[in-house]
């Protein structure tokens, strides 16, 4: 079996606290993986390592066969991260923000923000920001999609949007999703992991 994500003994600490401790897991290519765990269990840290936003202190992870430590540019070409941070410029409008990543028209309509495309981000609600961040991820057309709590701050319509997009991407891309929506995601996830205090349970 071919693995799009192969985490090998990854550890990461912030100061003296180990956020991740010797985590090893693998996600088959094209699969939907769910990473569950309570707040502070290391889910976001793991996704940020896989996206090369931060480096592991110990161990390594391969994404699409590329090392997150040594081949960061190659990993970045394959991945897109929906993070806790919106990665948006407050002074720019939605269209201008997305233009940095590609042609925004189709994805703006897809996430239901076409009518507000010219409004500055500073006027957006938290849910709208989440939708726009989601649009950025879609625009990048990644082979490995890293979604950190994608349902957070969304309304029921937004929940359906995430489900639809994940369903559309299934098979075309590998999806790694860190979430508290265990029951919802558990229904369609191909592989499931649980983190507790930085360790795989």
């Amino acid at each position: 079996m071919e693995f799009a994500v192969d985490v090998r003994g990854v550890s990461r600490r912030y100061g003296r606290r180990w956020a991740l401790a010797e985590v090893s897991l693998a996600v088959p290519t094209g699969a939907v993986a769910m990473i569950a765990g309570s707040n502070g269990s290391g889910k976001s840290t793991l996704l940020r390592i896989l996206a090369t936003a931060i480096r592991p202190d110990l161990g390594d992870a391969l994404v699409g066969g590329f090392s997150v430590k040594k081949e960061r540019e190659d990993v970045r070409r394959l991945t897109a991260l929906l993070s806790h941070y919106s990665y948006l410029y407050e002074a720019l409008n939605a269209r201008e923000n997305l233009s940095l990543f590609g042609d925004p028209n189709a994805v703006l309509a897809r996430v239901g923000l076409a009518a507000r495309a010219e409004d500055p981000i500073s006027s957006y609600s938290a849910g709208m920001r989440k939708r726009l961040s989601f649009a950025r991820v879609l625009l990048q057309q990644p082979k490995v999609v890293l979604l950190d709590e994608p349902y957070g701050q969304l309304d029921p319509e937004g929940f359906r949007l995430v489900d639809e997009v994940v369903s559309e991407l299934r098979g075309k891309a590998t999806i790694v999703m860190a979430t508290h929506q265990v029951e919802r995601v558990g229904k369609f996830a191909d592989v499931k992991f649980e983190l507790a205090q930085g360790r795989l349970r």
Partner: protein
């Protein structure tokens, strides 16, 4: 990238006015230090113009990374991936334009407060363009380096000022000759020296930027 930088600067243009007022106020305070001695005022006008611009530059340079850090937008760009050099040079060019505009806007203030009408306006503009380019390249690098630190407002000038002393010196000398007159054409050699520093800053800082912003 450059379009994004210029858009961000345009949307925060009110801040430019505030920095201009700060620069003009600095020139006014320096003129009080000299007193009503018109010869001394004219002699030191170039130095004070560049001091005013230098102090103002720490505000604009530091602020240029505020938008990048607000929602970690810079991290988002790096993860696309975007070349750190593209990010750096877009931001440096935008900062350069802003500092050059600020320098040009401060010239009439200098003329009025120090009775320092330039002998060669063309050369003065050239020196302002080159000198602001000399400030913007290392300034953008250090602003990026300190952007995530709590003590960024203190650290930026501490790191930035010592590095730009050579370019500042050449800028002051060349400006002084453009204001007071240059019968021996010494200004040309100062401008050449300034251009050399600018070339070094722009190439070295561009190379280093990727290392200072990545974890």
């Amino acid at each position: 990238m450059l379009r994004k930088e210029l858009l961000l600067q345009w949307r925060t243009r009110a801040q430019f006015m505030a920095v201009f007022v700060f620069g003009a106020a600095s020139l006014l305070l320096f003129s009080f230090a000299i007193g009503p001695n018109s010869v001394a005022l004219r002699t030191f006008s170039a130095g004070f113009l560049w001091l005013g611009l230098l102090l103002s530059s720490t505000l604009t340079l530091s602020e240029s990374f505020h938008a990048e850090m607000e929602n970690r937008a810079l991290e988002g760009l790096l993860l696309i991936p975007t070349s750190p050099q593209a990010i750096y040079y877009a931001k440096t060019i935008a900062n350069w334009l802003q500092l050059a505009l600020l320098g040009i806007a401060l010239v009439p203030v200098m003329v009025v407060l120090y009775d320092a009408g330039p002998q060669s306006i063309g050369r003065l503009l050239l020196v302002i363009l080159l000198g602001s380019a000399g400030l913007s390249a290392p300034g953008t690098l250090y602003a990026g380096m300190t952007a995530q630190l709590r003590a960024k407002q203190t650290l930026l000038p501490l790191l930035f000022f010592p590095l730009i002393v050579p370019a500042l010196l050449a800028s002051v000398k060349a400006t002084s000759l453009a204001v007071l007159g240059d019968p021996m054409d010494q200004g040309r050699s100062w401008i050449t020296l300034l251009s050399a520093f600018v070339a070094i800053y722009w190439s070295l800082c561009g190379l280093l930027f990727g290392r200072v912003i990545e974890e």
